[in-house]
């Protein structure tokens, strides 16, 4: 590894050094503000190093990692998302009776894991990245240790993540046994050769790898942890799990399993299609009459990953652009939605009951507007980014003749409209009789004011959603550039 390579992987180095720095400072002087400041500074430095890395010509640094435009784009996305989560966590942690400094360390290490994932081109970096991300999340989910919900959520996540990691390891071993190499390119060659009946071992191996991936993505049938963990974990951590964790793994999926998606006749393709359909259907149906806002968003995220899988299956560069754009829209929307929950939460419990949102339109109009825009974007209303995202996915799917998947996508989106609109109605409707329909009880006391920094972040996210819903071209160009470096068939 040459000296120049260090510059190429400088974003990863920056992401490694930052938690160390934060940790050392916390050892000597405990200060919430200092920790947040160092975190944001480190993330800013990381973002800056992206451009340093972009200027380097050598991309492949050891067989483990490739810092191409794709990786840089996603690391940028993850970095920004983490920074937003950190800012949202600021006032939340202040209300929670815990020591906040370690939280930021864990957040940063999780991001490091995610960054390693998106740049990974080898099983080793795949595994390590995934595990760093996972273990950091175990600790983050259980961070408010005095809350029974958090502990329960952490246990469920721990056991399921551990089990699926084991599947992942075993699957990787099987593929390695047949391929003789652990690099993504080698695996691609093997798969491209056709997964015939002779290659049972490889297929089984890939299925088991998909188990590990599928758990993180929370698709059916590995989705059952999602509502419980989303509900039990602290709201900003939920935001992180919903966005960074899923996004990083999806980016890796696109890179590693590209050849799987291009062969429409293979059984694996069928299996993934079934998973996509099941996720879209189950995700949207399960949210229908939920009264817990976090659970609604959890189930909706299952559905959205189903939509993303349709983009994945569509294959081709256009589909890659669709997936990338949809991910960005999904990140912005989810962060906005969970951000609202975070800002409204008190130290005792998160603002996740439907009744907490009753009349929010009158009590805190800005937050209600943010939430409404986020929900509209999730539903795919025109003028929001969500609409453009769904539109490009449908176009990609239609272009690859995935008619059944596209039809399911459209139909289940219609179901989704119900529960998103229900939330909006609860926020804006003031009459008790109409509220019986919406299923909300008397309003609980949630944070009546405060969280200024969070509100600023949320306003920025809302503007982002609306601006790019009406003028998406620059972002589409960026995603196209990022995705073009993948070896499309």
């Amino acid at each position: 590894m040459k000296a120049g390579d260090l510059l190429t992987i400088s974003p990863l180095i920056a992401l490694t050094l930052t938690p160390v720095v934060v940790m050392l400072f916390a050892a000597f002087r405990r200060s919430h503000g200092l920790a947040l400041g160092l975190t944001l500074g480190g993330l800013a430095v990381t973002f800056g190093t992206l451009f340093v890395s972009a200027s380097r010509t050598a991309r492949v640094v050891t067989p483990l990692v490739t810092m191409d435009a794709y990786a840089l784009f996603f690391i940028g996305l993850l970095t920004v998302a983490t920074a937003l989560v950190a800012v949202l966590s600021w006032s939340y942690l202040g209300r929670l009776r815990v020591r906040p400094e370690e939280y930021y360390v864990l957040l940063l290490t999780a991001t490091l894991g995610g960054a390693a994932l998106v740049a990974a081109t080898h099983f080793a970096s795949f595994f390590l990245g995934l595990e760093i991300l996972s273990v950091s999340l175990y600790a983050l989910i259980v961070y408010p240790v005095h809350r029974a919900d958090a502990v329960e959520a952490a246990v469920k996540y721990l056991v399921l993540a551990g089990a699926t990691s084991a599947f992942l390891v075993f699957g990787m071993a099987l593929v390695y046994a047949e391929a003789g190499t652990m690099s993504a390119a080698g695996v691609a060659k093997l798969v491209a050769g056709g997964l015939g009946s002779q290659q049972v071992v490889v297929t089984v191996g890939i299925v088991m790898i998909l188990v590990g991936v599928g758990f993180k993505l929370a698709v059916v049938p590995f989705h059952m942890w999602t509502p419980d963990v989303y509900e039990g974990a602290p709201a900003p951590v939920t935001a992180y799990v919903a966005t960074v964790s899923k996004g990083a793994v999806f980016a890796l999926l696109l890179r590693f399993l590209l050849p799987v998606s291009s062969d429409q006749s293979s059984t694996l393709f069928l299996a993934l299609a079934a998973v996509a359909v099941a996720s879209m259907v189950a995700g949207n149906l399960l949210a229908l009459r939920q009264d817990n806002v976090k659970r609604i968003l959890a189930y909706s995220s299952i559905a959205h990953l189903g939509y993303l899988l349709v983009a994945f299956l569509a294959s081709g560069e256009r589909a890659g652009v669709a997936a990338g754009f949809y991910l960005v829209a999904y990140f912005a929307t989810t962060l906005a939605a969970f951000g609202v929950i975070t800002v409204l939460s008190t130290g005792d419990r998160d603002a996740d009951q439907l009744s907490d949102y009753r009349g929010l339109g009158a009590r805190r109009p800005v937050l209600a507007a943010v939430f409404a825009v986020a929900l509209f974007s999730l539903a795919g209303m025109p003028l929001t980014m969500g609409f453009i995202g769904k539109f490009v996915i449908v176009t990609a799917g239609a272009g690859s003749a995935l008619w059944a998947l596209v039809i399911v996508l459209v139909l289940t989106s219609a179901i989704g409209l119900y529960y998103y609109t229900r939330l909006i109605v609860v926020m804006y409707v003031r009459r008790p009789e109409e509220l019986e329909l919406a299923g909300a009880g008397p309003a609980a006391r949630v944070a009546a004011a405060g969280g200024a920094a969070g509100v600023v972040v949320l306003a920025a996210l809302t503007a982002f959603l609306l601006v790019f819903g009406v003028y998406p071209s620059p972002l589409l160009r960026l995603v196209e550039h990022a995705v073009s470096t993948l070896p499309w068939p």
């Binding site: 399921l160 599947f167 049972v200 089984v204 299925v207 758990f215 419980d228 399960l286 176009t395 071209s473």
Partner: protein
């Protein structure tokens, strides 16, 4: 100057945003300034832009301004762009100017309403959407405006939400127009698959070249667009929502359900006239729909008790006239009548609002009467409006436009005696019901005392609209009069001129033909006077008599359309229904909802909260996939 085109829809949109963001912090005055001011500014800009357009027309008699490309996906790249030609100039001027007058009126009329700011928020959004609709250079953007006005119509009809009846009326409006909207979307899809673009001008040019006149494609596309137009413009058979839409405040009825939104259908057909020229069968249907509607609604208006409902049926009827004109290739005549109608109908609705408010929310005309001396300004302006509606010869704009339509219905290349007969009878009935309102409301003995008088901001718009209702007809005088027709010349730059080449063209165009119209109107006024003035009691007794009563009731209920819809759709599920009106459609929808909820219950029961169950489900899924993969 033309470059300011984008400001015209942008200003009301900005007003809307400002009102949304600053909602809590605004007092009434500020909200009124923002709400009415944004539309006023827009009217000013419109005046400048359109003035510049008229005085020095750009090349090709059209101005195209593309702001940006909304998205560029797989070769589908709709723009956010605006297109200005004679037709859109007309609509823009009417929308902004009449819109501003109505906003001004509303600042006084809605003064004591607790939803004052919310009202202007919705109204601004409406004006912005309507302007986007008429200025859009591609059908997708037009559809965005189309949906926007539909949404605002719903919000404003059900503005006084506390009464569920109002909400029901809003919902009914939304759902009935939805039927039309679905047809429109299907039409857009069809057009896109045929010509691969949704931009209006290129699409029309491509259609002109590639569609065979009279071919199935052309007819289908035209009919689907007609479907959309019928819904939005409340023509038969989708007219049932408009009378119920009167549940909204009077300014709403004036702006949305008289002057602008309901004319969106007329605009759409005028815009896509090339398609209709290529499909004579579709044109015929347009004319038939127009004629049937104008007669049906006219007769219904004749027996209404509620002042606003009478005006609503009148609106349906007058738009029927516009459709008739469009259907016989009298594009310019239809558009002319749109303009005159916008003025006098808005005037009538605003005046009705003043009357209703003055009599402490009394809507029944039989409980009015004798208001001539109490509300003189309202009397004169209302009468001018009614006269325009009735097409009082020479001194009202309604005469010029309606006479033109009547002449076109006979003399145009597509005209025939049936349409002519319908138009003439319709004119007679129109005169009857318009002056019935005048006599019953303003003359005779007073049944309700005036408790609130109108103030300046309500009266000024009335006077302005009254003046417009008199003079605006003079810009297109028939050839046998003075032949002063700059308006026709102006419209010729964007629309095909009316071809008086039918059998009776010569008669239709001549002064003799106009004499028929004039005499019908004058006779109508006379008969109306007789029926509702000296013989008032006799008329009332007559309409109550057992022979006539069912007929009157039938007309009152809008020729029983609602009655039929209810019977045909309700009877199969009547034993099921608890709500007043149920549809078969409701049943299907409920079934879908039930299915979804049942599925939810099943799946939700699966989320037991037990970790081992989660592992088991995952394991089961894995086993299933592995089995399939290995065995295949």
């Amino acid at each position: 100057m033309l470059g300011l085109l984008w400001l015209i829809p942008a200003l009301p949109a900005a007003g809307f945003l400002a009102l949304v963001l600053l909602n809590r912090r605004l007092d009434r005055t500020a909200a009124a300034w923002i709400g009415a001011g944004s539309v006023g500014l827009s009217a000013l800009v419109a005046l400048l832009v359109c003035g510049s357009f008229i005085v020095s027309p750009p090349a090709g008699d059209a101005y195209h301004q593309v702001l940006w490309t909304w998205m560029d996906v797989a070769g589908f790249a709709p723009n956010i762009g605006f297109y200005l030609d004679a037709v859109s100039v007309l609509w823009v001027l009417v929308i902004t100017f009449v819109g501003f007058l109505i906003h001004l009126y509303s600042t006084e009329h809605m003064e004591h309403d607790e939803g004052f700011t919310r009202f202007f928020m919705y109204l601004n959004l409406f004006v912005a959407s309507m302007l986007v609709l008429v200025l859009a250079d591609n059908l997708l953007l037009l559809y965005l405006g189309w949906e926007g006005v539909g949404l605002c119509s719903y919000l404003l009809i059900s503005f006084w939400q506390k009464d569920p009846q109002n909400v029901y009326c809003g919902r009914k409006a939304f759902i009935v127009t939805r039927v039309g909207d679905t047809a429109l979307i299907a039409g857009l899809f069809l057009l896109f698959t045929q010509v691969h673009t949704l931009e209006i001008q290129p699409m029309l040019a491509a259609a002109q070249e590639s569609f065979v006149p009279g071919s199935a494609v052309a007819v289908a596309a035209a009919l689907l667009i007609l479907g959309g137009a019928i819904g939005k413009s409340a023509q038969v058979p989708l007219q049932t929502w408009l009378p119920d839409a009167m549940a909204g405040p009077s300014p709403v009825s004036a702006l949305i359900h008289a002057a602008t939104m309901v004319t969106a259908g007329v605009y759409l057909i005028a815009r896509t006239n090339v398609l209709f020229t290529l499909a004579p069968d579709a044109r015929l249907i347009v004319a038939i729909v127009g004629t049937v509607t104008l007669l049906l609604a006219g007769f219904s208006a004749l027996v209404q008790h509620d002042l606003k409902r009478a005006l609503a049926y009148s609106t349906i009827s007058q738009i029927g006239y516009m459709f008739l004109a469009l259907g016989v290739s009298g594009w310019e005549a239809g558009v002319f009548h749109f303009m005159t109608h916008a003025f006098f109908k808005a005037l009538l609705f605003l005046a009705a609002g003043v009357i209703i408010e003055a009599l402490a929310d009394e809507h029944d005309i039989f409980k009015m009467g004798g208001l001539r001396r109490e509300l003189p300004a309202v009397f004169w302006t209302f009468t001018i409006g009614a006269a325009a509606l009735a097409a009082l010869p020479f001194v009202t704009d309604g005469f010029y436009s309606k006479d033109l339509i009547i002449a076109t219905s006979l003399g145009s290349v597509d005209g025939n005696l049936w349409f002519y007969a319908g138009a003439i009878v319709g004119a007679f009935v129109t005169t009857l019901y318009s002056f019935r309102l005048v006599w019953l409301v303003f003359f005779g003995e007073r049944h309700t005392e005036v408790s609130r008088r109108p103030r300046r901001r309500q009266l000024v718009p009335l006077w302005i609209l009254a003046v417009l209702s008199v003079v605006s007809g003079l810009i297109w005088m028939p050839p046998w009069l003075a032949g002063f027709h700059p308006f026709e010349t102006f419209l010729d730059t964007a629309l095909p001129p009316i071809e008086f080449t039918g059998e009776y063209a010569h008669f239709a165009e001549s002064a003799l033909g106009a004499l028929v119209t004039i005499s019908v109107v004058v006779v109508g006024i006379g008969i109306a006077w007789l029926l509702w003035m000296p013989w008032r009691r006799g008329t009332h007794a007559f309409s109550e008599s057992p022979a006539v009563r069912p007929l009157a009731a039938y007309w009152l209920g809008g020729w029983g359309f609602d009655w039929v819809y209810e019977r045909v759709f309700v009877i199969p599920v009547k034993w099921f229904a608890r709500v007043a009106r149920n549809d078969l459609v409701d049943h299907v929808v409920d079934g879908i909802a039930w299915l979804n909820v049942a599925a939810w219950r099943t799946l939700s029961a699966g989320q037991t909260g037990r970790l081992r169950a989660y592992v088991a489900v995952a394991g089961f899924g894995i086993a299933l996939v592995l089995a399939v993969v290995v065995l295949r």
